[in-house]
Amino acid sequence: MKKWIAAVLSAVLLAGCSPAFAAESGQAAPKDGVTLNVYNWGEYIASGSDGTMDVNAEFTKQTGIRVNYTTFEDNESMYSKLAGGGASYDVIFPSDYMVSKLIKEKLVQKLDFRNIPNYRYIDPEYRNLVYDPKNEYSVPYTWGVVGIFYNKKYVKEKVDSWKILWDRRYAGKILMFDNPRDAFGIAQEILGYSFNSTNPEEWNAAAELLEKQKPLVQAYVMDQIFNKMSSGEAWLAPYYAGDAATLVADNPNIGFAIPTKEKTNFFVDAICIPSSAKHKKEAEAYIDFLCRPEVAAANMEAVGYSTPESAARKLLPEEMREDPIIYPPKSVLKNSETFRDLPEGTGLLLDTLWAQVKMGSSGDTGTLLAVLGAFLAVYIGIVVYKKIKRKKELQ
């Protein structure tokens, strides 16, 4: 079924769109022979495996622009690489709050929407969102909510609260997000705080809750949950709704639930062009390509996330188009909150707290100095001892 649809989609694409594309981008024809550096989340594009369309190969075929496609695990490490890694990317895929952070720090540039005519397919409710109010810097790629994956074989109860991730009965079988916002978000949901609180005490309380959870956590991971969940190694894991289809296909015992007792996180992942991009025109052509309903549909079918284009959604197979996990009902969306960029002080606090949660209870300088001092003392002791010994030998 999937393969058949993919084949039709690619055929439609090849037959119908190539001339249209040439006409559309006529005003600024992208140069051939350049290589775009695209930096995306892992497992976030149709890559040609399992009979899907190979989006990057297709783009190269149609435009002659090569794609150097690399992946990151979370917004924060993408930010680190961009801010300090000396890497110049042409296209990146940050989430909502990260888009506003990047805008604030001038790490992304304004897009020329004349080169992205397919932006017209983006539904109005996904334009001009809070993170990019005038919609100058970003084009939405996917959206979704966070929920809990669980293995029905071992977790028999109803999963409707984030608190189950703190349940001792599942100690050692729980996975947790390996990035600060998502991890703290869950703690904040339980405590009833806002994700975007600026109150340090609320952040400290959330950190305390996460530290309480730590002994129960098997591992802090991102995309490794695929293997760990499908092999039965772990039983409970919070992750993005979009991955439900893939995980259930891997192991039919896996269920997915969006907690109703507390709120959840609603996110939009967007496409941006960093300020340091070397090939802006070509990057815009790439973004435009991704916005084509056929391509967007192929991507969504492969990765399982939700598309902000109604036109693309129409092209999806029915079971995906109407899946309440991928396109949750209004009641769920109402009970959600979006991450916003945090003010600098809060951001620094979060970084420190996150490092503390992951690295264990905080130590103090005295201990460290004592350790270094002990090593140094041993060294000096040996040197002195040898000198004395040598003197004695000489006598």
């Binding site: 150097n68 000396g86 890497a87 110049s88 990317y89 695929f226 293997n227 340091s276």
Partner: protein, 275 residues
């Protein structure tokens, strides 16, 4: 006692090879990613998929280019350096050798981080050039150089210093004298250094991780594979790499067998093998 020691040795070797055997075995596993450790029939599909992976082939190409360039440059630069250092006075030699040893003593992660800071600063200075092949090659040459120098220097010390002077006295210009007299004498050290540089470069992950920018080398590709939804492709890749290594080792071994003290040198080769 002999039987006991034999059993012990076998146990340690089992420990060393069990994981590798598992990797190789499961590369032929016809599984639906359900689990890494359930056998469900023989298949070569992961090998097929591997060869269709453009990013992988690109990473392999990058790795080989970097290794060849790094090995070549570090061998030339390192051999010249060894000759020059040999001619220095005691004090200068000590200072230079201490700094040369530093990258070998220093944890890889610190070397990687420090080079990253350098390259980022340089790229800002040069107007935003991205880290990539260039910075990787520079980094690899840097961590290979000490190994080349240290494998050439003992050979130089063994050489009769009068040979070079004699050649010059007989009217040979410095460069021809070097190629005709010195190089043949130190050639084993130079070749060992080059092979070391090549293998270190191919295997390096930590330093590359920090200096790669947008470029992927094979180890970096493998790393990103382990962070994702892993498919047995990674096992197929391991098997192929292991096969290639055995093949290379056989060649090197034939070469080393002709030299004395092969084992000691081999141990040296491994001075930083798991970078």
């Amino acid at each position: 006692m002999r039987a006991l020691s034999r059993v012990y040795a076998v146990l340690v070797y089992v420990f060393l090879y069990a994981p590798i055997a598992v990797l190789i075995l499961f590369s032929f596993n016809d599984t639906n990613v359900m689990s890494r450790s359930v056998w469900s029939g023989f298949s070569l599909r992961w090998y097929r998929q591997l060869f269709q992976d453009r990013m992988l082939l690109q990473a392999l190409e990058n790795t080989l280019i970097i290794a060849v360039v790094a090995a070549a440059v570090s061998t030339v630069l390192g051999t010249a350096a060894a000759i020059g250092i040999g001619a220095m006075n005691r004090w200068a030699r000590r200072v230079v050798m201490n700094i040369t040893n530093f990258p070998m003593v220093n944890p890889d992660i610190v070397t990687g981080v420090s080079l990253m800071l350098l390259f980022v600063a340089a790229s800002r200075f040069l107007g935003g050039a991205s880290l990539g092949m260039g910075s990787l090659i520079l980094a690899h040459i840097t961590f290979c150089l000490p190994y080349v120098i240290l494998s050439v220097m003992p050979k130089l010390r063994q050489m009769d210093p009068n040979l070079y002077e004699a050649a010059q006295d007989l009217g040979c210009a410095p460069f021809p004298a070097f190629f005709k007299v010195v190089l043949p004498e130190i050639a084993p050290g130079v070749v060992t250094g080059m092979i070391m540089a090549f293998t270190l470069s191919i295997d390096d992950f930590v330093i590359s991780y920090f200096t790669s920018g947008t470029t992927q080398t094979l180890p970096i590709f493998i790393y990103s594979m382990t962070r994702k939804r892993v498919s047995p492709e990674i096992n197929a890749l391991s098997t192929l790499l292991f096969g290639a290594v055995i093949f290379l080792l056989l060649i090197i071994n034939f070469r080393a067998a002709r030299e004395t003290g092969g084992a000691a040198k081999a141990a040296k080769t491994e001075g930083g093998g798991t970078r």
